[in-house]
Point group: D2
Chain length 429, copies 4
Amino acid sequence: MSLSHSVLAEARRGTEPKSTSQHDRLMETRRLSLELAEPLSDEDQVVQAMDDASPTKWHLAHTTWFFEAFLLTRFLPDYRLFDETFEYCFNSYYESVGPRHPRPKRGLLTRPSANQVRAYRAHVDEALDRLVADSMPKEATELVELGINHEQQHQELLLTDILSLFASGPLKPAYRGSRPGVPAATPAPPTWSAFDGGIFAVGHNGDGFAYDNEGSRHEQLIRPFKLAGRCVTNEEWIAFIEDGGYRTPTLWLADGWATVNTNDWRGPLYVEEADGGFMQMSLLGFRPVDPAAPVTHVSYYEADAFARWSGYRLPTEFEWEVAAASVPVEGRTLGAGHLRPMPAKPGDGLQQMFGDVWEWTASAYLPYPGFKTAPGAVGEYNGKFMCNQFVLKGGSCATPEGHIRRTYRNFFYPHQRWQFTGLRLAADA
Amino acid sequence: MSLSHSVLAEARRGTEPKSTSQHDRLMETRRLSLELAEPLSDEDQVVQAMDDASPTKWHLAHTTWFFEAFLLTRFLPDYRLFDETFEYCFNSYYESVGPRHPRPKRGLLTRPSANQVRAYRAHVDEALDRLVADSMPKEATELVELGINHEQQHQELLLTDILSLFASGPLKPAYRGSRPGVPAATPAPPTWSAFDGGIFAVGHNGDGFAYDNEGSRHEQLIRPFKLAGRCVTNEEWIAFIEDGGYRTPTLWLADGWATVNTNDWRGPLYVEEADGGFMQMSLLGFRPVDPAAPVTHVSYYEADAFARWSGYRLPTEFEWEVAAASVPVEGRTLGAGHLRPMPAKPGDGLQQMFGDVWEWTASAYLPYPGFKTAPGAVGEYNGKFMCNQFVLKGGSCATPEGHIRRTYRNFFYPHQRWQFTGLRLAADA
Amino acid sequence: MSLSHSVLAEARRGTEPKSTSQHDRLMETRRLSLELAEPLSDEDQVVQAMDDASPTKWHLAHTTWFFEAFLLTRFLPDYRLFDETFEYCFNSYYESVGPRHPRPKRGLLTRPSANQVRAYRAHVDEALDRLVADSMPKEATELVELGINHEQQHQELLLTDILSLFASGPLKPAYRGSRPGVPAATPAPPTWSAFDGGIFAVGHNGDGFAYDNEGSRHEQLIRPFKLAGRCVTNEEWIAFIEDGGYRTPTLWLADGWATVNTNDWRGPLYVEEADGGFMQMSLLGFRPVDPAAPVTHVSYYEADAFARWSGYRLPTEFEWEVAAASVPVEGRTLGAGHLRPMPAKPGDGLQQMFGDVWEWTASAYLPYPGFKTAPGAVGEYNGKFMCNQFVLKGGSCATPEGHIRRTYRNFFYPHQRWQFTGLRLAADA
Amino acid sequence: MSLSHSVLAEARRGTEPKSTSQHDRLMETRRLSLELAEPLSDEDQVVQAMDDASPTKWHLAHTTWFFEAFLLTRFLPDYRLFDETFEYCFNSYYESVGPRHPRPKRGLLTRPSANQVRAYRAHVDEALDRLVADSMPKEATELVELGINHEQQHQELLLTDILSLFASGPLKPAYRGSRPGVPAATPAPPTWSAFDGGIFAVGHNGDGFAYDNEGSRHEQLIRPFKLAGRCVTNEEWIAFIEDGGYRTPTLWLADGWATVNTNDWRGPLYVEEADGGFMQMSLLGFRPVDPAAPVTHVSYYEADAFARWSGYRLPTEFEWEVAAASVPVEGRTLGAGHLRPMPAKPGDGLQQMFGDVWEWTASAYLPYPGFKTAPGAVGEYNGKFMCNQFVLKGGSCATPEGHIRRTYRNFFYPHQRWQFTGLRLAADA
């Protein structure tokens, strides 16, 4: 019932993508999905805990369909569809491709069975194994890269979605058994790093893979700012709760205040107050909240209210990206094997920029200058969501290795909080 | 993937309850539940297709919990609970027992697993095997009888609920493979049986098991009436559809008309018009509608509208019961192995009174004179539902053997139609 | 701002219907509607407080349209429609007549204006004045009678609907000023009247006006029973509240318990606990609850739960009707001018059978034997509601004079409680 | 029934704010509100057509309460509250002030009556007349200015809200009678104005009144762009409809496509296709769509989809503001008396930048750098809505004179369209 060593090894190996061929990275990605599903019974894999989440089986099948629909049927001449009904079952949201099973009903698909889905993966993997090689057309190479990254996104969702399922029942099972650990010391107040203003280039420069929403690379005018050296901790968040943060309307955006009251929020998702302390459901089961670890499972509304309460603000996505230029792209992501955000290490400078928790920014998710949706179904990947959401940066404890960049723009609605979402404070310098 | 012969044999044996001990009937009932689940994967067993339905696994566990909570913990001194968390998981609606998992979330219980539930059944069966004997206290004997009947009700629900699941997805699998058959001849118009008026005793007389809602036995004044010799057929229902029955407001009760329009009903549940003909999802898969068979999966609203359209009416529960006195309590119930309603046999007299489809009556489900709810949780069994529902009589193709009586009062809301529900016409004589 | 003396005189005169011609009774009924609206501003008359209620202006116009659509256009040869758009605006629920303004949007009809509706009434009254005479065809005479009774029903609704509006706002205005009164003595426990069982004829015999749902007159078998001499009082209801009645699930029907919890009911509609006492909004404003007066604005669910708590039950509609044969058809209805239920007078025998509050019965609202819907729109009057509702008997403090009979069957859904609804207890003898 | 000449004169005078004292401008603003309500009956003024809209009476009272609560009670020593209950009734959304009547129930407030509200206005106006003078404390002067601007915003809402009411009923009355006019020539394709990139100061510089959300003035980096010389016309929009714009998912943001389908949108709000042509409800009644006039009552989702369909994009709020620097702040706003957007005049350059329709921009409504919410209730004015909305620029045919600036930031949710909202296309240069 515990995430095997090979998975972690696999995941770690992912941190050195340069040294492996696309073929090998693809196969490792495909294998990692199966290994992430290993601790789960077929029953666990079929159910959908809420509309936002998807069943494990659906993730396993949908990522496979993605390769079949966009790559194999076009570039492998003798490829035969595994099952014609699967397109309807496992298309997520590609209107261009055709009608599809409704999202809130993904959990009703007891058929095709988990066994059939595993056979589907094997069938597609065999075909991918034959197709993917250095000699492929450039478009195919690009689609493979997109498919790898697409599957990595679903690996993170697989973990957050199974957590939402396990948190919904009375038994609160652990996805992986807990390992004993030494509680971290309560962290000191964060140090602050200051940054000059100026005109900075932001966005992806096209060198290596990036999603379309990361470009074009363009200039942004930045005003002098400073950034906290670590994420906001559970201890700090509990102070916010105990100061009446969830009961003080003037701290909140109007939509946030309505959300708090409609849903009777009194703390982060999965947190319960019990016996004078705070417990939180996690992939390691239902455990006491670690005061030193970054707060997680908070919405944009909560992050914004906390920042107002603390006298600071959230950084913009551009401030974050400019600051991130000063640190290496490494951190406690999935390969670190913690499956939860970990306390910052003592010391100055910017800690935890990558891994641990996705950091809400103050930037609405909008197109960069010159952004154009690609024609066809692949063009539906990112562009059509550029409304009503906010940008998050930096990756989390569930982000696969190699799947994070300084320019990466994750995005969620401001009320959503089932992802590993947290925050870092900023201020005008 | 087909319902095994032993199940049918089992079920048939049930038709001779007199010759077997309570112990044996109990054990056969327990076995039948497992065999009904056999064609289903663990994935099939965990999911809930709609709020009204429950997962197979939940049925298997809840019927087991019923014995544990109401019988074993009281009458078997050394009985040890299988798992203390199961009461919360598998209590259905007994407010007296305590809080419970919310009904619409039964499908999220991937844990406890199907394997654990099977172990739970084995654990309880072993205890039942030891406890149940002729020498038990009378109250225990009565609770065993209630438990058997309770489980039989859930056996029927297990089948209707799995049908609702299989009908919800794109693949429309069969619960059991279809056997080739000779289509029945289109039936002649029904003959009518006439009955005199007078004062008749109705309700259960207390001899043998009956639910509390079947008593007290009391007198009813009946006016002369006549009853159709068979149920309304699909052919007759199609004539109603084709005459614009679903588009003619004056045929409908106001609540029924609102339901038709809100849900865009154009025929019975699971029926689709395709290629000029009518198809219906069934336990044998997605098949052409059999014109000679009784219409099924119709609501009270539809049954009432059809009766009005035809110039007749529905019988009252008392008329039905008085008429049923003239025929033996036998018919094509679960043991017959058809898993769907079958055409009436040619001939005069009352056909199909038992089995095939539950027949909607014109009687609101209300307490009989002198009805009193039993104290404690068992008293919540029937009485608290005596409002807003209608009585159905006669059992269906999914009703276990031995689980039907002339006095049996089934009840559902007038909009519900996922059970095997049909109708028989009546008229004043 | 107080209900004028002439209205009350008018209403009182209604108690002697025998002595006046149909023409005069019609004109008095028409006048009474206008006088009931007199205390209200045009603003008060246009708004709809909830879906179940209608604006005063709509009542005034709809009752007028009823005469125009069903009578004048057929029997007055030179009749010219006042305005062709009014049929769409003021048809209530007659599907046979055609499309109509949606019920929940009746409160958006600021046009036609209140002035136009008053002109509409004058126009139709002038035509009615010319048409209605002894020499009319029988069908016209019957339609006039139906129209009078229809308008009387809407007079009661006008009052209950304006109460729902005045209770919805912060100012809680009185429809009519309060007159000082002497508080009644707390009533003694009710005496009980016993009735023999037997076969009794119930329902209307066709002599004089009755709604179609009151027939046919037919026999019912009644078991010996007894009936409380007065309605349940506020004092008794407060004892139920204080005994935890609204927090004890075993007292409630399942649907009732769900309703209590969904809506957070803790007492009758319009009741608020304040400063240790109970206040209730009424047509006389927001006033302390009178302990001696009948409880009112309770639903069937509450009436049923109270009866169970008290150890008694609700009477059936047939028991009530049989018992009512022993008392005259008189009581404190609208003409008495109280505009609220009043305490029972001391003494034995059946008090308060007519007037004060509508009494919930244990009878589902279903057709009597032989009931047939009349063809055409008039047939939609009562029959299509014979499902999911319960019968109430006896009339209330807002029922116009002459509009109540022993056979009268009022009906509402079991959750509804904005009418003047109360209860009287019964028991098996 | 027509907007009086004095109103228009009044409104026109407003275009020369410099020449009048604050006292006079205040009094003129107060008068204009009453005159805008003049064509409406008391019935029209009390009803609320939808949750987003408010009744006329409520606007008249709320703007008055604003002066009473924030100004008079603080700065006029002998001021006596008109009615203590009004704060509860007419507070809009100021959490700091206290509890308030729920927004969706504003239309139930038949009391206080329209007459009382007029008396309330007179009472407050008399006090304002006494208080407002050059010698007031600076804070009072600023609050008067805020109150004037606040009331002007509600004047525009009063008109859009009454249109939503009049459009909801079957009679579709005109707020003001229509004047015959000469149809404009179909406009030529727009000319385009090009603008250089660079660093530009945007936002309000604090000279004269502005809302807090218009500051701080700060620098933005603008890329070269061009802007269409006029707004998109109805003719162009009809081409979009007829090209299947409302049925083509790839043109839409995902949230927009869901909105289109949930609400079955097929054209702008209030537009109906009839007899082969397009009609639209307006303040002048239900009239044929004018092909040459700007399209109005479109949501952000529609504006965005249209821009994508046309091959262009929406401008950012900063591009718009930079472009607007080149034209005078004048246009057909409320004082022009058209009450609907009018066709652009022939000619080059930027037309229609002010007045006619509010122009959706591509900018999410977010705080400018350094924005801080003011303490207290006044701080709730704008800041708490900085989430999930988009910025609109330029004012409309219903915007009062003097109430528009280049820096003005209006904001609405992307699905809202009951305001006079339209669009102007932009492109990268």
